[in-house]
């Protein structure tokens, strides 16, 4: 008898638990309804996102192609500038040689003038005329100025040559950007395959991921500062190596 009562008690307890589950279920119904409503609204958003991803991804090959074209066009333009720099350097060298020849001639003229001055000593008119001629022919200052100008222009061409190296640096930066964009294209392709369960969407194949033959940290800085740091490291490393070598000698 007592067992039957105990069983009935347990049954009642289970029924209360079931009742609680139903009560909880009733409470959950609005939440589930809300979730279904949210999903109904969200699916078109996902579709839109999916479409945007596909559209963005389709534009990537054109973007990378444009970047490659920029690199090639810049390289060509820099090559033309270098042609002009070469011509300028050649002409400057020619000008410098000509100036040296003029200086040599002037030195020879000075020697001849010394001889002439001795010959006409005492002839006042001749001395005055020679003095006037020498004054007119005094090119010392002009020649020195011209030599300095040639030096300045040569230094400027060196500066231009250095500045043109920016092309190599920017091309490495652009290569890094290209690499990043193509990586994004690959990721977007993976995302598309996740979203597009129908398999109906036509997905263009991934671009081939280029090798990482660039320095993504390449930057155009004042060269002397960087080179000083490099020289210091090279010097330190060499000292260390020398010290090591001494230990084994």
């Amino acid at each position: 008898m007592s067992d039957t009562v105990k069983d009935l008690g347990q049954m009642l307890e289970k029924l209360r638990e079931v009742e609680n589950v139903f009560k909880y279920g009733e409470k959950m119904v609005p939440v589930v309804k809300g979730f279904i409503s949210f999903m109904s609204d969200f699916i078109p958003v996902i579709e839109e996102v999916n479409g945007s991803i596909a559209e963005t991804r389709e534009k990537i090959p054109e973007a990378t192609s444009q970047i490659d074209k920029v690199t090639s066009a810049t390289e060509l333009a820099i090559s033309e500038v270098l042609d002009k720099v070469d011509d300028t350097i050649e002409q400057l060298n020619g000008l410098d040689d000509s100036l040296d020849e003029i200086i040599e001639k002037r030195n020879r003229v000075e020697q001849l003038v010394e001889v002439l001055q001795k010959e006409i000593k005492g002839n006042e008119t001749a001395e005055v005329v020679l003095g006037a001629i020498l004054e007119e022919l005094d090119l010392t200052l002009t020649l020195e100025t011209m030599k300095n100008k040639v030096k300045d222009i040569t230094s400027n061409t060196d500066q231009i040559t250095m500045s043109l190296q920016v092309q190599d640096i920017t091309s490495q930066q652009l290569a890094a950007v290209n690499h990043l964009i193509i990586s994004v294209q690959h990721k977007l392709g993976s995302l598309l395959s996740v979203f597009d369960t129908s398999g109906k969407r036509m997905v263009t194949p991934n671009l081939e991921l280029p090798g990482t033959h660039f320095d993504s940290k390449a930057s155009y800085e004042k060269p002397d500062v960087s080179q000083d740091m490099v020289d210091s490291i090279v010097s330190d490393e060499k000292t260390t190596q020398d010290d090591i070598d001494k230990l084994f000698s």
Binding site: D168, I169, I233, E237
Partner: protein, 124 residues
């Protein structure tokens, strides 16, 4: 003996700038390569090359790999190598020195810096 340079860089602009600097130093004998692999092939086929100026970041074979390949070859292991690169952080420089480059120039460089380093390497 006349110096014959091997200039290795995937940028034609950079190769040209190095060539111009060499010409201004009076060196007219040089060959060019656009990556480490081509450079190594030229080096092993031409005994007269006695100075290598190489970039680091290149496709196919990098300048660092080229340096290691040169140092591992009995015939070429003593060649002077000057690394000319945009990589200017200490770890990179130390890595290049450990691979036994003779000196290191950071881009962008003035022609004078390149001249000084070539002279320094040749003097040693």
């Amino acid at each position: 003996m006349e110096n014959k340079f091997l200039i290795v860089d995937d940028s034609s602009t950079m190769r040209r700038i190095v060539v111009n600097t060499l010409k201004s130093l009076g060196y007219s004998d040089y060959v060019e390569a656009e990556d480490g692999k081509v450079a190594y092939e030229k080096l092993t086929a031409d005994d007269s090359i006695n100075f290598v100026i190489t970039d680091w970041n290149m496709p196919v074979m990098t300048g660092l790999e080229l340096t290691k390949a040169i140092r591992a070859n009995d015939r070429t292991k003593a060649l002077p190598i000057l690394m000319v690169t945009t990589r200017g952080i200490k770890e990179d420089i130390v890595q290049a020195l450990q691979a036994r480059v003779n000196n290191y120039v950071v881009k962008p460089f003035t022609p004078q810096i390149l001249k000084d380093k070539i002279d320094l390497v040749l003097a040693n």
